[in-house]
């Protein structure tokens, strides 16, 4: 089942690329992705839709959370990208 992972991180040079790379490095295919400004100064919000299949999501989320300059990681069941995007289309 697909999952939507929302990551709040710094918008410094190289930070979003590091997190995106972690998906493929741990075997998660990025099906959809959205990167925009986050709520807060110098923050980005990265939203990724992926299908973990039989992978150990708990550890992957822990790995994401412990990355330098990642503030928070939230996960929701299903493809929630359109809903998340809509919040930014004001």
């Amino acid at each position: 089942m697909k999952q939507t992972i929302s990551i709040l991180l710094s918008n410094r040079f190289n930070d979003a690329e590091r997190i995106i790379g972690l998906f493929s490095a741990t075997g998660y295919k990025i099906e959809k992705m959205f990167l925009t400004e986050g709520d807060g100064e110098n923050l980005s919000k990265l939203i990724v839709v992926t299908d973990p299949q039989d992978k150990n999501v708990v550890n992957f989320l822990a790995r994401l959370r412990q990355q330098v300059r990642v503030s928070s990681v939230e996960v929701a069941e299903g493809d929630g990208l359109a809903n998340e995007q809509a919040k930014f289309m004001v």
């Binding site: 040079f13 190289n14 590091r18 992957f60 790995r63 959370r65 412990q66 330098v68 300059r69």
Partner: protein
Amino acid sequence: MKKSSVETDPSYMRGAQILCESLLRENVDVIFGYPGGAVLHIYDELKCFEGRLRHILCRHEQGAVHMAEGYALATGKTGVALATSGPGATNTVTGIANAFMDSTPLVVITGQVPRPMMGTMAFQEIDIAGITRPCTKYSYVVKEAGELAEIVQEAFYIARSGRPGPVLIDIPKDVTAEFAHFNYPSAVKNLELFETIPANDNDISNALAKMFEAKQPVFYVGGGVTRSSATEELMRLAERLNLPVTTTLMGLGAFPARHPNSLGMLGMHGNFAANSAISDADLIVAVGVRFDDRVTGNINKFAPQAEIIHIDVDSASVRQNIKIHYPITGDAKNVLAQMLGKLEDIDSQSKPDVEDWWNQIRAWQKDFPLRYEYSENVIKPQFLCQELARLTSNDAIISTDVGQHQMWLAQYYGFRRMRQSLTSGGLGTMGFGLPAALGAQIAFPDQQVVAFVGDGGFQMTSQELATAVQYRTNLKIIVMNNNNLGMVRQWQEIFYDKNYSEVDLSGSPDFVKLAEAYGARGLRARHPAELEDVLAEGLNSSGVVVMDICVEPEECVFPMIPPGAGLKEMQLQ
């Protein structure tokens, strides 16, 4: 600020000087590096820091990073390597990946083309931050000299905190020439700090209760114990509860090999007693380990009856490879100290009932010790390791590459203390041993440091002999020479029906002459009767000595767990 006042302000300096001043603030005393176009300003500045920042000129940037790793592993401090842009930077990648896999604190500084030229495929330009993204804890591309001090401070903090690892700082050449005010921050401020929260009190009590209830418990400990300097706490706990302890390759020395509670190393080439104890355990207390596949064998057959307590600083490692019944996230030293604190409230005579378990373990140790057939005609590699242990009183700092020699040394050396074994565990890097040992020798010039390498790995970084000689070190190199890529040959013998494919290294140079060409001393032993004299002479001589020890080429490392098998399915010969 007006120009005239700026010029007289001592805190106003160019980026290269800010870098050097910042390194001093992080108590860096040695940098392992190699100059080039993009780091010329830095090298210009280093000349002014002679006596405060020692620079070791390596012969290859991979060697520089391995030296920084060896320095870090032996001292517990953060190692520093410096390379230029382009090929200099790409040559650091193997070392960076090695440090990432083995959780070694490292700061690697690379030069970059000037900012206006970035992205133009300029001469010696490469996106090293991009290349190393998957094998660094973090990486910086410095955009202006004014942020350099803060970046250096953060880099060192990130490298050593939590689960340690490598951090890259990529600095464009014009940033090192740009002037800015140097003001080293008093503390890291723009970074969420790693918190060493004490483990949950109930989790500690529960874990201790399980250890008292268990009938067949065993400690399984690894590199995390060394990284957090938790050897003493581990020994006190193991002795207080009278529990057996087995160590991983990375954990060699974290618990003394000759301690009565030690079972030695477990895993693919582990001791029979260690692998059997893990397989039959009803409780495993795993400390600073990550259940690597070389340790567990077939994970579905690993410790089928055991409940597992897993103590690790890295929350993402706990439960990663195996079901954990009692996870405890925390620094090993702190968690073990918390356990010892709780034990003070318990009658000191109260211990787990493990007498039958120890009887079983002692029987395994007696019936199935490490064994090999001694030969009077040819030097057996195991005999070489035993002789090296005897002649150095098990007390030398020893590095290895990866392969047969690494396993035999792990089995037979008997490491006494943490930070004594420098090895490439996770990445399994040939060519690590010689430069890593040299890094340790630079840190501890008066200690006996030995690079114990195979003839394959030795030739991957043997150019660092020049570095060892140039800095007048006393490094000793033992080449376990079997004229083969031994471990590959072993797998081809056992699993590929002796179809030996491209493992013959008989075209190698004469290592004695090679040593002499570098200005080192070369010695050779071909026969068991010569071994003691050659080792004693080599180890006790001053200066750099290469000992070429010709060993039995067809010897295989046993015990061995075949790929896909469980720990119980050891092949003993």
